[in-house]
Symmetry: C2
Subunit: 298 residues, 2 copies
């Protein structure tokens, strides 16, 4: 189960292997957000997401939607760490033509979402560019005991997702509400062993979580919640842009979660030993290798 040499994950692994950090960096490159020393019982979380016209949204997307999505993606990263977002910076590159109109709409969408989660938008940068480019950086906080990394999954854990998967690019990706409240509920009531958000597709992001944790996994076609807008099960597996939570917890807690919030959080499989690899059990009970086929930028 190897990705091609030039894949995004391998590029990132290569970059991060050369970068030295001091002891104030609890977790650097490779998770949804960086984790930095802060107070006695809290960490700072720090993340950014770049959106590019033609890749992350089309030229038909409204400015309000682009502003919303730009912030929502970074908030989703903070949610994936079990934390609460607090500050945002917004870098915006856009064509000079109708810049003013665009900016008004863009900030309307962004501000509305920021207000919902009490995020302070504290600055940014504005540049002329022939395409629309947005990069939103966010600082958040997390209680030390609530921090959830990708790497904590253990053999026997039950694998969950929030909401439903697939077909997001037909519309939901421009209006999704980042799972901050759901994440906060999870980390304050349960012991979540590993968590990340699904941005590039379940198969690729589960592969990343398993690789970080040094484990394998099995998921069940029957159990994966397919969104109404998805056109096939494959879209739920590989399409990406879901921005749902993917997480694992011990089986005993999993039963409790299913009972109390089974409507939002769906168990889709189980963590196995590393040598098991990544498998999918089909509706016909056939075991297939689950290829990490989600969206790769490189």
């Amino acid at each position: 189960m190897r990705l091609p040499e030039a894949s995004e994950l391998n590029l990132i692994t290569r970059i991060s292997s050369k970068i030295k950090t001091d002891s104030s960096v609890i977790c650097g490159i490779g998770d949804d957000a960086a984790v930095l020393k802060y107070t006695q019982d809290r960490y700072l979380l720090y993340t950014c997401d770049m959106l590019i016209e033609g890749v992350d949204f089309t030229s038909r997307a409204r400015p309000e939607q682009i502003g919303h999505k730009a912030l929502a993606c970074s908030l989703s990263d903070i949610a994936a760490m079990g934390g609460a977002p607090k500050y945002a910076l917004v870098s915006l590159g856009l064509p000079k033509r109708d810049a003013q109109g665009f900016i008004e709409g863009f900030y309307d969408g962004l501000r509305k979402l920021a207000g919902k989660f009490k995020i302070n938008v504290v600055g940014g940068d504005l540049s002329a560019c022939d395409k629309i480019i947005v990069d939103v950086s966010v600082i958040g906080q997390v209680s030390k005991r609530n921090l959830t990394l990708r790497k904590g999954a253990r053999t026997g854990d039950i694998i969950f997702v929030s909401g439903s998967l697939g077909g997001s690019i037909y519309g939901k990706h421009l209006s999704f509400i980042p799972r901050i409240k759901e994440s906060n509920y999870l980390v304050s009531h349960y012991k979540v062993n590993a968590m990340m958000d699904i941005s590039d597709g379940l198969s690729l992001d589960l592969y990343r979580l398993c690789r970080a944790s040094g484990v394998g996994a099995v998921i069940y076609e029957d159990l994966v919640p397919v969104a109404d807008q998805a056109k096939s099960f494959d879209e739920a597996l590989h399409m990406g842009e879901d921005f749902e939570l993917l997480f694992t917890m011990p089986a005993s807690l999993a039963r409790k979660l299913i009972k109390s919030r089974g409507n939002i959080f769906k168990a889709i499989g189980e963590i196995r030993e590393k040598k098991f690899g990544l498998k999918l059990i089909t509706r016909g009970y056939k075991e297939k290798v689950l290829e990490p086929k989600g969206y790769q930028h490189f």
Copy 2:
């Protein structure tokens, strides 16, 4: 002395007037970096800078130079606040063709500068884009007593710049060392009333400092240090990309600074009352209005 309605400054003023922040935000949109509550005696500083191929560097710039400049611009913002940078996130959009080669060079340049100032590069984002786009966000810290905003200039203050101005786009803008050490020296030995970095040209950035402080200013052609690479005095006034410090302090301290570090910090003029406006005294002792003509993205 008004900028056109659609100017960058007016756009930013319009955006920021609609954005609400809570009491943990000491200073939001409009300075070189945001200032956030942190510990009893320190603030967090938070900034970002977006660089775009064809605007901030040409396609002839080497990957190492782009990596260097991308980080250096954000570090310059932290220096302008009197602070010390500590963490950086790097968002990179680039063409798929030769991505791997570019990334290696880019991170070599960036890492070298990060090492010089002990910056932890803790994450980022990687996207495919037909042009090279970089956005670097930086978190820094500053002692409360050392914080220098744009808005503190007072009538009678002497205006200083570090280094020399003009002609940076012929080369220096790709290799400049951000004035972190110089800024640290200033704020720990002197009472600096106002400070910012010169990124868009002395005339425009001095205008911004004066507008933020509610004051006017006079500078002297004779005193403005013109860089060797500048082709004219106008380039020193308006060209931008200098990334030098622009700051003001009371006249009594100014004399002390000129004596001890007059080789690096040059007095170029004096803060006046607001109604005085912005003036330049030419070599022939003629008083001219100093138009803010530096680089404007919009």
